[in-house]
Amino acid sequence: MQQTFRFIAIVFLFSFLVKSSSAQTYNQLWIPDTLSGTTFNLTVKDTLKQILSGQQTVTGGINADFWGPTLIMKKGDLVHINLKNKFNDTITIHWHGMHLPAVMDGGPHQTIPPGVLWQPYWTVNNPASTLWYHPHLHEKTTMEIAKGIGGFIIIRDSLESTLALPRTYGVDDVPLVLTSRRFDGSNQIVYTNSVYGDYMLTNGTPSAQVSLPKQYVRLRILNAEIERGYNLGFSDNRTFYIIANDGGLLNAPVAVTRVKLLVGERIEIMVDLSNDAIGSAVDLKAYNSGQAFGFPGGEPATSGQFGSLLNNIDFPVLHINVAAATANPITAVPATLAHNVYWTAADATVQRRIDVTEGNPGGKPFSLDSTPFVLNYINKTIPFNNIEEWTVKNNNVFGHAFHIHDIQFKIVARNGSAAGVGAYESGWKDVMYVPKSETVSFVAKFNDYSDTIHPYMYHCHFTSHEDGGMMGQFVVKDFSNSSGIENVSKHELDYNLFPNPATARVYVQFNELNNEVYYITVINSIGRTVMMLPQPEIPKGIDVSSLAKGIYFVQLMDKNTKSITTKKFVKE
């Protein structure tokens, strides 16, 4: 018996050695395609990808076989999304970091069944920044993100465009989405009872390498993990410069040699390769060994739900080969990047505290304020235009990454001290690391959008934690234009659809004035939803050109009364 064990142990160790030595062969970093303009056509689908040798891995992708296109948007543009769900399951897609109406936000309420075309749209108000989009279906977020569904959004604006920054996508300006994955014996992604991967995937590429020019380059780095944090640095400990946080440029670059990036967070960095010889190499690495307990991925176990082969070790994220400089290289980091004016604690008129609760091993899952997420319960109502200070207290067993929808915030204190806030996290943020035994405060203004029906979310961005119910919801309510009397008389909205039958567009004509439409759903004759149109632009009509011939029903929800009136049309 003991002999057998020894033999197994030797085989086990040997497999380790093989794994570490094989890391010397690299795969070319996949860089997502870009989509730009004001209309973005996205198809979420099941697909497959050759990640390991042997069997292909069943993945999810958006217009791609893992992950999705980088959407390049311009501040001030009215953007329209045509998102078709060809995935085998219901999805939602959330525009992470985007300041937009709650009904467009893609949270757990905006479920998109298979086959449905969802058409949110909004005016881009965020400044130049690196945002992302990802699934947010309650209890299935981990599965859908683990399979690879997601993508970057790059916002450009006139201020950022005037700076001498690397801006040539895929050449000196490269997006990096960091994930690790565990695979089972059939090379399929493991997402149940497993929060850390054994293989590092950078942009979906295992053992990734890229050639970058001998000059200052910009890396837009996103942690899209289930739970793992990254303590990033370069293999020669060189200094690099943080130029942007989640919500956009810092006022000035911050020089560091290491920076922690938790789930959901983005940083943009600039690193100088001009002193590197052409043909030389440097690695971007995760220096994750020796972290204090509570840093996700620091646990020493090499397997099991909270263990992995990448836990508590330093490992490469990207092998960078230095190539010839481009024609007009960026040669310096601008001393001034932006002129953000941040809220301070003194600006806040309301203070709220949120406690991290439960989550003890073997006990209930983590929650906020001992209130696990319930889909139809609004935890907080925030008066429109409030400036508020929220304090998240983590007197609990593990670290978390607190995320809030709708707004970008300013971290104002760690453990009650403004001096405790790092320069590296001094910009606009939408995710903040709340380590074990720490209390972190931010200030934000809840402006521009109010809606008492569709909520925004706040939650831990560890997808396993949010799926477990570590999430709450808030609505932003405009009290100023309310009489205080909520009893609006319910009445049928009187409207006609024309032309009927229709071939390209169906228009809505109201028989009374001052109607506002909150939502239109188009349903086919067997009851399958085919289109979901949040706050549709009524004068433009409904584009039905993609629908098959047949009978359809329009369900139109009135904004004030929330009553739904159904009308029929024929598509020819």
Binding site: F5, A9, L48, Q56, S186, Q188, S303, R528
Partner: protein, 202 residues
């Protein structure tokens, strides 16, 4: 050294615990029942129609799953090879036709024609047969064998171990049928099925 060995053993034990399959119940050995399902030629098909069959290869598949789409030619090859040996091939679509517009009977007919299916492609619109087999994904392959006038599952899982490169694949299902035809127990009776999940209506 002793300590080192203990650590190794501990690691092995940990990994055994960690990779214990979440669903320990096996489908192999289950008895499944005869059925009557509409084929793409609109004729009804039942197991008892094949009076001389020793067994069947039954694959749950569908129109829209990209992983299932890789296997059309292999399905034809399996049927050609084994129908002559008394083991016909049947494909069954148990996907929820209310949810997926691509899974309509009309589109099943189109697929069977386009991919030159030489075997029945059956429409399980009430999902009863999928539930009886406990089919989990498309594709999910079974070999059933006649024992004491009952149909017993002898193999459950993947068709082979390489979707995109059949020439490199270990043909699990062919191996299982060969074992049974030689009167031997199936060497590898269960592998993992994966692809698109089949969701059953309540």
């Amino acid at each position: 050294m002793k300590l080192f060995q203990s650590i190794c053993i501990a690691l092995v034990l940990l990994s055994v615990v960690a990779f214990k399959p979440s669903k320990p119940t096996t489908l192999v050995g289950n008895v499944v029942h005869d059925f009557a399902l509409k084929n793409v030629d609109s004729k009804m098909v039942s197991l008892h129609d094949f009076a001389d069959a020793k067994g069947f290869i039954v694959v749950f598949t569908c129109n829209h799953c990209p992983f299932a789409k890789l296997y059309s030619k292999r399905f034809n090859d399996l049927n050609s090879k084994y129908i002559a040996k008394g083991v016909p091939f049947l494909a069954i679509n148990s996907m929820d036709t209310l949810v997926y517009e691509e899974e309509s009977f009309e589109l099943m007919k189109n697929k069977a024609q386009h991919d030159n299916f030489n075997f029945p492609y059956l429409y399980d619109c009430m999902q009863t047969v999928g539930k009886d087999f406990k089919a989990e994904h498309t594709p999910h392959a079974f070999v059933i064998w006649k024992e004491n006038n009952q149909w017993v599952i002898k193999y459950s899982g993947a068709i082979d171990d390489n979707g995109e490169h059949p020439e490199k694949a270990n043909p699990y299902i062919a191996n299982a049928v060969d074992d049974l035809l030689h009167g031997k127990p199936v060497k590898m009776p269960e592998t993992q099925s994966f692809g698109c999940a089949i969701f059953y209506r309540k």
